[in-house]
C-alpha cells in the first residue's frame, strides 16, 4: 500500500515537472511569437502551478479532457463541476464565492450579470479576441445576415466597465462572457419509427405521434420550442419569440396544455441523459433534443437524426465569465486560461462533438481537413469520423444533419432567452407541467 502511494506521488510530481517544462516552453514560444515580451503575464510559471481555478457550468463543455489539457499546456489545475441549467443559474447568483469561472449560457448571463456576482473581462488582455466570430460581437454571421430573435449573445455580451451590471448597446472593451461554444438546436427523430418525412416543427403535434413525443422542461428553453411549434402550426404569429407578450405566452401555453391533456406527450425531460434514454428506448420518436444527445443515441447503434426544419433552428451560446471576487494571480491565470480556450485545441475538441467553436479559424489548425470538411463545411466524410475520445461517430460517406456551419447557423430563427415577462412565463409553464 505504501509503495503504491509512493509511486503515485512520484508519478504525479513527474507529470507536473514535465508539464511545467512544457508550459515554460510554450510560454517562451508564445512570448517569442507575439514578439512582445512585456513582462506580464508570462513569467510567473513558477508559482502558477499552485493555482486551482474552480469552474462550474452545464455538462456540455465541462469536460475532463479540457482540464487535463489545461494542466498540460498551462500548468495550473482546473476543477470542474457540472450542473443542470437551473442549478447553474441558482449557484451563480446565490453562491458567488463558490466558483472562479462560470461556464454559462448567454440567457443565464442575462439573469446573473445584473446581480453583480461577476466581473467583466478586459478584451485587450486577450490575444485571441479578434479571432472571435462576429456573431458574438455584432450578431451578424456574415455582414448581410439578419439578427435572430431572442437573447442574441451580442446583446448581453458587453458592459460599460469592469464592474458594470447593465448591458451596453454596442461593443465595448468589457465583455461579460468570452464566447466558447454554441449550436443550433432542432428536433431529434427516430427515422426508423416516425414512418414519414419530418419537415416542420408542427410535426411534433401530429396525432400519429400521440404519446410518443417529448419536449424539454426547462422553461426558458422549452418556451422557445413551444413558440417554434405554435408558429409552425399557424396558430400564433409572434412579434418577438424571444420576448413575448403575456397574451402570446398564455396562448402558447394553452395550445400545449391542450396537447398534453390529449396525451400527445410521453414525458418531459430535464437533463441530457433523460432525453437520450427516452429516444434510445423508443418511448419517444420525435422530441426536442441537443446535438450530443443525438450522437449518444447513435453511438448505441440506434438510428437517430437531428432533423433540420423549414422554420429554422433555435440557437444557444455559452461562454466563460469571471466571478467578481477573482483577483491577483488567480485573475491572471483565469485570463491565461480563457485565452488558451480560444487558441484552438478546445475549439477543435468541441467542433468534433458537434458544437461550434467561437473562434473558428484557430480551431481549424487542430483538425484534419476531413474533420473540418465534415463538421464545418457539411461535406461527405472521406474516412470514418471519430469522436474526441476515439469512438466511431460517423462512417465514411456520411454528411452532417443540416449541412454546413453557414447553413445551420445562418438558419437560426431565435436564441434561447429570458423575457421581460419571465415571471408570468414561468408561472404559466408551471401550470402547464401540473395540468
Amino acid at each position: 500500500m505504501k509503495d503504491l502511494k509512493d509511486t503515485k506521488t512520484e508519478k504525479s510530481s513527474g507529470i507536473s515537472r514535465r508539464s511545467l517544462l512544457k508550459g515554460a516552453a510554450a510560454v517562451t514560444a508564445g512570448a517569442a511569437a507575439s514578439g512582445a515580451i512585456t513582462g506580464f503575464p508570462m513569467i510567473w510559471a513558477q508559482n502558477i502551478k499552485n493555482v486551482t481555478l474552480r469552474q462550474f457550468g452545464t455538462g456540455v463543455s465541462n469536460l475532463n479532457a479540457i482540464a487535463e489539457k489545461c494542466k498540460e499546456d498551462l500548468g495550473f489545475n482546473l476543477q470542474l463541476t457540472s450542473l443542470d441549467s437551473d442549478s447553474v443559474t441558482q449557484r451563480a447568483v446565490t453562491q458567488p464565492k463558490s466558483y472562479d469561472i462560470a461556464d454559462i449560457e448567454y440567457w443565464i448571463c442575462k439573469k446573473v450579470f445584473p446581480s453583480g456576482a461577476m466581473q467583466a473581462l478586459d478584451t485587450s488582455r486577450l490575444k485571441n479576441f479578434d479571432k472571435i466570430s462576429p456573431l458574438f460581437i455584432n450578431g451578424k454571421l456574415t455582414p448581410d445576415s439578419e439578427i435572430a430573435q431572442g437573447t442574441a449573445p451580442h446583446t448581453v455580451g458587453f458592459v460599460e466597465g469592469k464592474n458594470g451590471t447593465s448591458f451596453a448597446k454596442e461593443q465595448t472593451n468589457w465583455m461579460t462572457l468570452i464566447p466558447t461554444i454554441y449550436n443550433a438546436d432542432t428536433l431529434g427523430i427516430r427515422p426508423d419509427l416516425v414512418g414519414r418525412p419530418i419537415t416542420n416543427w408542427r410535426d411534433i403535434m401530429d396525432p400519429a405521434f400521440k404519446g410518443k413525443t417529448s419536449i424539454l422542461n426547462i422553461p426558458s428553453i422549452g418556451i422557445m420550442d413551444a413558440a417554434m411549434i405554435c408558429e409552425s402550426m399557424g396558430e400564433i404569429k409572434y412579434g418577438d419569440k424571444g420576448n413575448m407578450t403575456t397574451g402570446e405566452i398564455d396562448r402558447t401555453m394553452a395550445i400545449l396544455t391542450e396537447a398534453k391533456k390529449a396525451g400527445q406527450f410521453r414525458a418531459f425531460w430535464k437533463s441530457f441523459d433523460e432525453s437520450v434514454n427516452l429516444m434510445a428506448s423508443g418511448e419517444v420518436v420525435i422530441q426536442s433534443m441537443w446535438s450530443p444527445a443525438v450522437a449518444a443515441v447513435r453511438s448505441r447503434g440506434i438510428e437517430c437524426k437531428y432533423q433540420p426544419l423549414e422554420e429554422g433552428y433555435r440557437a444557444w451560446g455559452g461562454g466563460l465569465g469571471l466571478a467578481a471576487h477573482l483577483s491577483g494571480l488567480e485573475l491572471d491565470a483565469a485570463y491565461e486560461y480563457i485565452d488558451w480556450y480560444l487558441s484552438g485545441w478546445v475549439g477543435a475538441y468541441l467542433n468534433r462533438q458537434g458544437y461550434y467553436s467561437a473562434a473558428p479559424e484557430t480551431s481549424k489548425q487542430f483538425m484534419s481537413e476531413d474533420e473540418w470538411n465534415f463538421w464545418i463545411e457539411g461535406k461527405p466524410a472521406q474516412g470514418d469520423i471519430l469522436s474526441p475520445t476515439g469512438e466511431l461517430m460517423e462512417k465514411a460517406g456520411a454528411t452532417r444533419d443540416g449541412g454546413s456551419y453557414w447553413d445551420r447557423m445562418g438558419a437560426v430563427a431565435c436564441w434561447n432567452s429570458v423575457m421581460d415577462e419571465n415571471r408570468h412565463m414561468v408561472r404559466k409553464w408551471n401550470e402547464f407541467i401540473v395540468s
Binding site: 441558482q90 446573473v112 446581480s115 404519446g211 422553461p219 398534453k260 414525458a267 423508443g282 415571471r423
Partner: protein, 286 residues
C-alpha cells in the same frame, strides 16, 4: 416542594441538548422559511419585504388546488394499498410463523429492498415497465396484447406502484410490532368464547394493533405528501404533486414562492397529523 423544583431543573438540563438541536435544526429553519415566504423576488434575487402576493397567488391558483387533489389522491391510494399489504404481511409474520428464528429471518427478508437507495429501486422499474420493456415485450410475445400497454410507465399507475414498493415496509414494521405485543391468551379466550376467525380479527387484533396502524399511516402519509423524486422519475415529468411544484419554483430561483408553498404544505400535513393523533393516543398504547 424544593425537592420537586430541583428535580424539575435537572430534567430541564437533561433535555437541553436535544432542545438546542431541535431549535437550531428544526425551529430556526422553519422560522426562516416562514419569513422568506413573505418576501418579494425577481429573476435573480429575493427582496426583504412583507407582502401577501405569494400566498395570494398560491391559494387562488387552480394549479395549486389541482396539485393538492392529485397529491391527496396519491397519498390515499398508497395508504390503502400499503395498509392492506402491510397488515396482511404483519399478520402472517406475527400469527402464522411459529418460531422466533423464522420470524426474524422473514422480517429481515422484508427489509432487503432497503439495502439499495430508493432512487435505484425506482429507476429499475423503468426498463421493466417501458413501451419496449420486459413486461410489454413479454405480453406481446405471449400473444396476450397486440400493442404495448402505454399506461405502465410515466403514469399515475407507475407512481403508485413505486410508492407501494418504497413504503410498504413502513407499514409492516409498526403493525408487526404492535401485533407481537398482543397477549396470545386473549385470542385463545376469544376462541374459547366461540368467536369466529373474522370476529377475532375485527374485535381483538385490529383494535389492539391500532397504534401500529396509525404510526404506519403517519409515515406513509407524510412521505407521500412531501415526495417529488418519485413523481418526477416515474411520472416522466408530466405528472405533478405539491412537492414538484415547490421543487420547480426553487429551481427557478423563486424562493419566496417556494417557501409559501412549503409553509402551506407544512400546515396541511400538521392538520392531518392532528386528526390521526386524535384517533389514537400513541403514548398510551405503545
Amino acid at each position: 416542594m424544593p425537592m420537586i423544583n430541583s428535580k424539575n431543573i435537572h430534567s430541564y438540563w437533561q433535555s437541553l441538548p436535544l432542545g438546542m438541536v431541535l431549535l437550531a435544526f428544526l425551529v430556526f429553519p422553519i422560522a426562516v422559511i416562514t419569513v422568506v415566504s413573505f418576501w418579494d423576488y425577481n429573476e435573480f434575487s429575493i427582496i426583504p419585504d412583507f407582502i401577501w402576493t405569494n400566498y395570494e397567488y398560491l391559494l387562488s391558483s387552480p394549479v395549486t388546488w389541482k396539485a393538492y387533489l392529485q397529491t391527496l389522491q396519491y397519498a390515499l391510494l398508497t395508504w390503502t394499498i400499503t395498509l392492506g399489504l402491510g397488515f396482511t404481511l404483519a399478520y402472517f409474520l406475527a400469527f402464522h410463523v411459529r418460531t422466533n428464528g423464522m420470524q426474524t429471518l422473514l422480517f429481515l427478508i422484508c427489509t432487503i429492498p432497503f439495502l439499495t437507495s430508493n432512487i435505484i429501486r425506482m429507476i429499475s422499474w423503468i426498463p421493466l415497465l417501458g413501451r419496449n420493456g420486459l413486461i410489454n415485450s413479454g405480453l406481446q410475445s405471449a400473444g396476450i396484447t397486440d400493442a404495448p400497454i402505454e399506461w405502465l410507465l410515466y403514469s399515475d399507475f407507475a407512481i403508485i406502484l413505486a410508492y407501494v414498493h418504497l413504503y410498504t415496509l413502513f407499514m409492516v414494521v409498526p403493525i408487526f410490532n404492535s401485533m407481537m405485543r398482543i397477549d396470545r391468551s386473549l385470542i385463545e379466550a376469544a376462541i374459547d368464547a366461540g368467536a369466529r376467525p373474522y370476529q377475532i380479527l375485527r374485535d381483538v387484533v385490529i383494535p389492539l394493533s391500532k397504534s401500529g396502524i396509525i404510526i404506519g399511516s403517519i409515515f406513509v402519509f407524510t412521505l407521500v405528501m412531501g415526495d417529488f423524486v418519485t413523481v418526477k422519475i416515474m411520472g416522466g415529468g408530466i405528472r405533478a404533486s405539491i412537492a414538484v411544484l415547490i421543487y420547480n419554483e426553487i429551481s427557478l430561483l423563486q424562493y419566496p414562492a417556494a417557501a409559501a408553498g412549503a409553509v402551506v404544505l407544512l400546515i396541511t400535513v400538521i392538520m392531518m397529523l392532528v386528526i390521526l393523533f386524535r384517533l389514537v393516543d400513541i403514548r398510551k398504547e405503545v
